[in-house]
Amino acid sequence: MDKNIKILIVDDFTTMRKVIRNLLKSVGYENIIEAEDGAIALRTLKNNEVDFIISDWNMPNMSGLELLKAVRADSELSKTPFLMVTAEALQDNVIAAVKAGVSNYIVKPFTAEVLNTKIEKILETL
């Protein structure tokens, strides 16, 4: 499995981004960039070759779902794997994300192992 993929973490809470970054590092992913909201994430995606997006669901200005829709609507980004982080597996939210083309979702809190499995599973299907 390619551990050198470039992963973008999108979350408005700095500490949360750091938590995810630490978890990713612990399973070998080192190439990580961050964005603090959906709008910034879109700009970052334009300027960087991002291989994998991990985004929070609940963010100000642009929610994770809106970001997902914007990514899927963009011809250059539409195939980028998108892992949605949610606090609860609320059925309506999850189904909405799946319909919008999310690659998978993960419920907080999660361990590095669970996160790694989710990422590897998504990458396998590419």
Partner: protein
């Protein structure tokens, strides 16, 4: 729309399924099928093909369960899904040939139901019927079984530090937004703005294994979620409990900080059960209930009896069910009847707190208004009777009794409208913190006397001037943290809010422990701005008061916070409009205190009654500086510049009230008449009146719409003899005299 399109859509799903790698349906594939089914359902609904809708519904549920990972046997579920595709093809083919489908298909729903563990009902043929979501949203998915045994615990100190500082910031954001929400309870944006930080805090807390923080923020978050969905309305209780929750979170987070610094061995050792109960009550829409203490408990609390004595009393009561506990204790000689009756009264007071009702303030205003008139009318009656000789003694006595009752009634009705200043103070405290953050300062806010009561209408009115004073104190009064440390002061600035009653007034003090007013700077500025022309001999007090003059502002740069081009003169005007007074005390290097006095109510004015010709006028006492009869020499008439009077070395313009209102005066010469020195916003003038009749508290009446804009008159009042007296508005009168 025709059946061919539908058939094509079904074929597309079938071929997608055919190319599906193995039986492992992943999330993106499930999403794709969901979208295809949605499109297909739309087409079938337009054609009115109910069997397709039903089967698609069953397939939808299977997909949802795939996504939510809630299937016991995924392989079986997916083959059921596959059978669904075949069934769809069959139904659509049959429709194409015969225009109907007569075979049994409902069992498919049962199969799908069995494999997913959900009940699926066939739907009515409502066109465009939505894909239903069978279950209510799951409350909170517990971490997966395989994962729950593992440690989420992240013992990373730097992460914890980040969480502490970011979490505190988020909670402060919550506090500010709650105030906004309180003013706009309908605004979903504000609910969102409060919801989100709780949500974020919860997320990180779950990783850091801070279960108490996670649990509390989760409960508050769900409360707000309900408010956002309209399931709960934004009540004061909800706002209170969210604020209390934010405070508790803040407390816990700061205890974590203390623990990191080695000052607290037991962080998060707090009892949240009360708060959790309150949250649950608000969640269920239960009003908080105050409990009434038992008589025995009150007696113990008062120290009248010991617990043993109470138990003995209770035993007696148990054997004589008719007997009350108080009686039993008195009989035994443990307590005196007086103690019992006092305790009973206390109990009754507690019970009465339980029964409150909400009343429209307009009704209260009407009531107070009418009681005011009642008091006046009965004064009139009383005067009539005392004017009669050989008055009926009985009548006089009864009238006196009526007077007592009426004034008691007035007191009670006025008190109905009194509320504590607490809430305003709290808003101001939060504002101070907010402002200090904006200007990069650190403050502590202390409150005193927040239970002091004030007329409800006044509470709203004094808010704005107070806000301006707070902004001013934080922005101009306090130094930055660095400056403070250099002066040897604590890093955090102190803002004190005090409220108390004095001399029939409501007094608010706002103090800061900042740099104090700079005498020389004020003088320089005053001269430069031509606020004053001569500064010699001014006392410190007088110099400080300069900041209340129009056109005066010492802030070197216009800041976002207080320097909006309006200075303290606006505050003074606002305070005076409320018939209040503002004073200032300052010690260089130690700080500044603003003292604002307000009347307890706007409905009654404390006035001086003066006579001009046959008319009587009421002058607000707050505007009167002094009254005098000048000497002949003090009076000057300069041609073209008007008349002046020398009042203790100061030349003041003379205003002849009778001239302004076209009244035939009794006295024309100032040295025969009485001069009253009245202070306006910018200047003082002498009003010439015939006579001072006395002082009185009068109930202010509006003159009605037709007469409301008369210059120099702010209202009317019914005097003791039933005649009307007009209330003078000094500012308006000054303007009138200058025309």
């Amino acid at each position: 729309m025709n059946i061919e399109t539908l058939l094509k859509s079904i074929d597309l799903i079938a071929s997608d399924f055919l190319f599906l790698d193995s039986q492992d349906m992943n999330i993106p594939t499930a999403g794709k099928f969901l979208n295809s089914l949605e499109g297909l359902t739309g087409e079938a609904a337009e054609l009115g093909i109910v069997p397709v809708l039903d089967v698609a519904k069953g397939m939808n549920v299977i997909l949802e369960c795939v996504i939510l990972d809630s299937l016991a046997d995924k392989g079986k579920a997916i083959s059921t899904f596959e059978r669904g595709i075949a069934l769809l093809q069959e139904i659509a083919d049959e429709y194409k040939k015969t225009g109907g489908y007569t075979k049994e298909y409902e069992s498919y729903l049962n199969q799908a139901g069995a494999v997913t563990g959900r009940a699926i009902e066939a739907q009515a043929a409502a066109p465009g019927a939505e894909t239903p979501s069978a279950d209510p949203p799951q409350e909170e998915k517990k971490p997966d079984a395989e994962a729950s045994g593992q440690q989420f615990l992240i013992q990373d100190e730097s992460l914890l530090r980040d969480f502490i500082s970011e979490g505190t910031e988020y909670i402060e954001e919550i506090e500010v937004n709650i105030l906004n929400l309180e003013n706009n309870p309908e605004d979903k944006d504000y609910i969102n703005a409060i919801f989100r930080p709780f949500h974020s805090i919860k997320g990180v807390a779950s990783f850091l294994n801070l279960e108490k923080i996670r649990g509390l923020s989760h409960n508050l978050e769900s409360l707000l979620d309900k408010a956002r969905n309209g399931e709960l309305s934004v009540t004061p209780q909800l706002i209170d409990v969210v604020l209390a929750g934010a405070d508790a979170l803040k407390g816990m987070i700061s205890s974590l900080k203390e623990a990191l610094e080695g000052r607290n061995d037991n962080p998060l050792d707090v009892d949240l059960s009360d708060l959790e109960t309150r949250i649950r009550n608000v969640d269920k829409g239960i009003e908080p209930e105050r409990s009434v203490q038992k008589l025995g408990e009150i007696l113990i609390e008062e120290g009248a009896i010991s617990e043993e004595a109470l138990e003995e009393g209770l035993k007696i009561k148990a054997s004589n069910p008719d007997k009350k506990i108080g009686e039993a204790l008195i009989q035994k000689g443990t307590v005196t009847p007086k103690q019992v009756s006092q305790a009973l009264r206390k109990q009754a007071e507690q019970a009465s707190e339980l029964s409150t009702i909400r009343v429209d303030t307009r009704k209260l205003d009407d009531l107070i208004d009418m009681v005011g008139e009642l008091v006046i009318t009965q004064t009139m009656v009383q005067q009539d009777i005392s004017n009669q000789e050989n008055g009926n003694k009985n009548l006089t006595r009864n009238i006196a009794q009526l007077f007592r009752i009426a004034s008691g009634l007035q007191k009670v009705s006025t008190s109905l409208r009194m509320i504590p200043i607490k809430q305003t103070f709290q808003r101001m405290a939060r504002l101070a913190r907010d402002v200090s953050k904006n200007v990069g300062k650190n403050v502590v806010v202390e409150m005193e006397g927040e239970d002091t009561e004030l007329d409800r209408n006044m509470v709203d009115e004094i808010y704005n001037p107070l806000v301006h004073m707070i902004r001013n104190s934080v922005d101009h009064g306090l130094e930055t943290s660095e400056e403070r440390l250099q002066c040897g002061k604590p890093e955090k600035g102190l803002i004190q809010l005090k409220a108390y009653h004095r001399g029939g007034n409501f007094v608010v003090e706002i103090s800061d422990d900042g740099r104090g007013l700079n005498r020389d700077k004020l003088l320089k500025k005053a001269l430069a701005n031509h606020v004053v022309n001569n500064v010699e001999g001014l006392t410190d007090q007088e110099i400080y008061r300069l900041i209340f003059l129009p056109g005066f502002s010492t802030a070197e740069k216009v800041t976002d916070v207080s320097g909006r081009g309006v200075g303290m003169d606006v505050v003074r005007q606002a305070v005076e409009k409320l018939r209040g007074k503002i004073e200032i005390e300052s010690t260089p290097g130690k700080g500044t205190t603003f003292i604002a006095r307000f009347p307890l109510t706007m409905a009654i004015i404390d006035g001086m009654i003066v006579k001009v010709g046959k008319e009587r006028f009421i002058l607000p006492t707050t505007a009167i500086r002094q009254a005098l009869r000048p000497t002949r020499e003090a009076y000057n008439h300069i041609m073209g510049q008007g008349e002046t009077v020398n009042v203790m070395g100061q030349l003041m313009p003379l205003v002849r009230v009778y001239d302004l209102f076209n009244i035939e005066p009794e006295k024309v010469n100032p040295w025969d008449a009485i001069l009253i020195v009245v202070e306006g916003a910018t200047s003082s003038k002498c009003l010439l009146v015939d006579q001072i009749i006395g002082k009185a508290e009068v109930v202010i009446k509006s003159l009605g719409d037709g007469l409301k804009d008369i210059d120099g008159i702010s209202g009317g009042a019914i005097m003791g003899d039933g005649q009307i007296g007009l209330i003078i508005d000094p500012e308006g009168l000054f303007e009138l005299s200058e025309r």
